[in-house]
């Protein structure tokens, strides 16, 4: 069993490396692998290619890895926390919470005496707080509704409420701010520059680090709250830490890339199916690899020649069928 998983980890690591290189090569301009190599080596023969790779495609590919890994880990933690196979940052309105936080910073800052919008930290902090707040509310609701599909509907309602609030804010904002916010909602991996990555990277690292720290307690939560308590797990503390970690991951990514749908729900199921385990010790790294690979595939597809599609639409194509499959299988 362990050797099988080790082999799978090896294969997926290779796949992620391969996709990373492919993501650098393909785009509106095809760049040969040789040029990528020389760009990394600091060989400035073709400065246009070097510029594209270093300042555009490299941060985008890194963002794809971070976003895929973060959303998948956030989805895994939420599925365990809610004991609901459909839990995911996007579905349960966590991304909407992050949107609302972002909208407040981007648009409402027009009313404030000092400029806020250009400040990445303000953006990410408000998105994380928005995400964690929605998580808390959904968690509270989940104590009352046990049915997984009902919780789904509640999540969608929170998303709707957040969207309505965003619309209200838009009405009172100046056109420049609205444009800035609309660009953000389209969800783009390429919006993340090196400057943003300097902030995003530590946030994601902290969130994933916390997830690994919580792996044993996450396993325990699979048994349900009462049994977990019986094994010596402090439920309130564990829940708070999971919400904080999920907020950092989902909120942090959403703040910079906009909402990316369905990666969080689909990847944990794919990882469980491939690695055939329930142990978070294996599922966490598996979700990181599968999530990174999946989002890079989405990113490569969005760059079909002549058109650039929003990454959100492609990820929905992968993710939405997974949800339908889960609901059908539970009947």
């Amino acid at each position: 069993m362990y050797s099988r998983n080790n082999l799978l980890f090896f294969v997926f690591s290779l796949l992620v490396i391969f996709l990373f290189l492919a993501d650098l090569m393909w785009g509106s301009v095809a760049i040969p692998a040789k040029e990528i190599f020389s760009a990394f080596c600091g060989d400035r023969q073709n400065s246009v290619f070097t510029e594209i790779i270093i300042n555009f495609r490299l941060p985008k590919a890194i963002t794809a890895i971070l976003a895929g890994a973060s959303l998948s880990v956030a989805g895994l933690m939420m599925q365990t926390l809610f004991r609901n196979p459909l839990a995911d940052p996007y579905i349960l309105g966590v991304s909407s919470g992050a949107s609302l936080g972002t909208a407040l910073v981007v648009m409402a800052s027009g009313f404030l005496p000092f400029s806020f919008a250009g400040n990445c930290w303000a953006l990410i902090i408000s998105a994380v707080i928005g995400a964690a707040l929605v998580l808390l509310i959904v968690l509270f609701v989940s104590f009352r509704v046990n049915d997984i599909v009902s919780l789904l509907i509640v999540g969608i309602m929170f998303g709707t409420i957040a969207a309505a609030l965003v619309s209200i804010i838009q009405n009172f904002s100046n056109p420049d701010a609205i444009k800035l916010f609309l660009m953000w909602t389209f969800g783009s991996l390429s919006a993340v520059t090196w400057n943003y990555l300097q902030i995003l990277f530590p946030v994601v690292l902290a969130g994933i680090g916390m997830a690994f720290f919580l792996q044993k307690r996450l396993d325990g939560l699979l048994l349900g709250e009462n049994y977990a308590r019986g094994l010596g797990i402090s439920i309130t503390q564990t829940r708070s830490l999971i919400i904080l970690a999920t907020g950092l991951l989902a909120g942090g990514i959403t703040a910079f890339t906009g909402p990316i749908a369905f990666v969080g729900v689909a990847v944990p199921h794919i990882a469980r199916g491939i690695f055939r385990t329930s142990s978070h010790k294996i599922l966490l790294p598996a979700c990181i690899l599968v999530g990174a690979a999946l989002l890079m595939i989405c990113d490569i597809i969005t760059q079909i020649p002549d058109y650039t599609l929003p990454v959100n639409t492609i990820s929905a194509l992968f993710g939405a069928p997974v949800i339908i499959w889960i609901i059908l299988r539970r009947k």
Binding site: L222, L223, L231
Partner: protein, 329 residues
């Protein structure tokens, strides 16, 4: 040697500021190596008491002591080292096999990553052996039958290696062979491992046979403790489960229905067959009395009623019916 005791324990639920007391001032004491059956009508507080001892529910008042340690003051981790439990909720974990499930019992002992040490593995395997599931340790939990699943949950509690194991209705949803199997297993475990095993159940006859002690809970009178047979002799079961439609039958440790008995008959003969004949007669509305004009003799192979020989209970009941039509009583 472990001792579980309660002092002036009041249990119940707190809801919106009001206290709903279910049992009050319980002073109980249990020593290790005993299987204890918690019995009582619905609503008498069996589950509440178990959940309170398990530490899942705060008592309204009083203390629970485990080897002199105040349970409420223990940390979550220390509680996990003292009490393990099997609840009625069904646990379903995708992809988890039997070994994984039982390994959860080692949680309080292993490191933050949850890695099993050699000793942990040994304990898990021993627990599996105790419930005779060691050959199925790589089966997925989702593929197990209800009885096997219950054994796995018991093994998980055993692997947790606590002096006290609590089980809430471990035989519910099981068929008869599995009920008997689980009860026998728990009886054996209490005696071989020297643990305190406290279980709640509705299976009165099984509990009377397997339990070393009975805690008989009633809604108003608290908990009566005793060896099953002493409680039978004192008439406690009939008091607790008082009803017009059934009574606790001291002859077989079961509840018997109170049929409306209109006819009288006197019956004699073979002992085993007599017992079942009396049951059939009671259902048909006949009370067995010493001297009745209507006499039935039970032989090794037949029944004799009014010099007429019949060879099955069905025929006997038919014959009685015919008599009634001719001589209505």
């Amino acid at each position: 040697m472990s001792v579980l005791s309660t002092q002036h324990l009041t249990i119940g639920y707190r809801k919106k500021g009001t206290e709903n007391v279910i049992q009050h001032d319980l002073n109980l004491r249990l020593e290790s190596g005993k299987l204890v059956g918690l019995i009582g009508p619905n609503g008498s507080g069996k589950t509440t008491l178990l959940r309170t001892i398990a530490g899942l529910l705060k008592p309204i008042d009083g203390k629970i002591l485990i080897d002199g340690k105040h349970l409420l003051l223990l940390s979550q981790h220390e509680k996990a080292l003292n009490v393990s439990f099997v609840l009625t909720e069904k646990v379903d974990i995708a992809n988890a096999d039997v070994f994984d499930m039982v390994s959860f019992g080692r949680f309080p002992y292993n490191n933050w990553r949850g890695n099993l040490s050699e000793e942990d593995r040994k304990k898990v395997f021993q627990a599996l052996q105790m419930v005779r599931m060691e050959t199925m340790m790589h089966r997925l939990v989702s593929e197990l039958s209800d009885g096997e699943r219950q054994r796995v949950m018991i093994a998980k509690a055993l692997a947790q290696d606590t002096p006290i194991i609590l089980l809430d209705e471990p035989t519910a949803h099981l068929d008869v062979p599995n009920r008997v199997g689980i009860m026998l297993l728990l009886h054996k475990l209490a005696h071989t491992t020297g643990k305190i095993i406290l279980l709640s159940t509705h299976e009165l006859d099984l509990a009377l046979q397997a339990a070393d002690l009975i805690w008989l809970m009633s809604e108003n009178e608290g908990i009566e403790c005793g060896v099953p047979e002493d409680l039978v002799f004192s008439g406690s079961f009939n008091r607790v489960f008082a009803s017009n439609s059934y009574f606790f039958n001291e002859a077989n440790g079961n509840f018997s229905m109170n049929y409306p008995l209109n006819g009288k008959v006197s019956v004699s003969g073979n002992k085993t067959r007599l017992y079942w004949t009396l049951r059939a007669l009671a259902r048909a509305g006949y009370a067995a009395v010493e001297d009745a004009p209507l006499k039935i003799e039970v032989t090794d192979s037949a029944w004799i009623l009014n010099q007429k020989k019949v060879f099955s209970v069905a025929e006997l009941l038919d014959e009685l019916n015919n008599l009634n039509i001719r001589f209505p009583f």
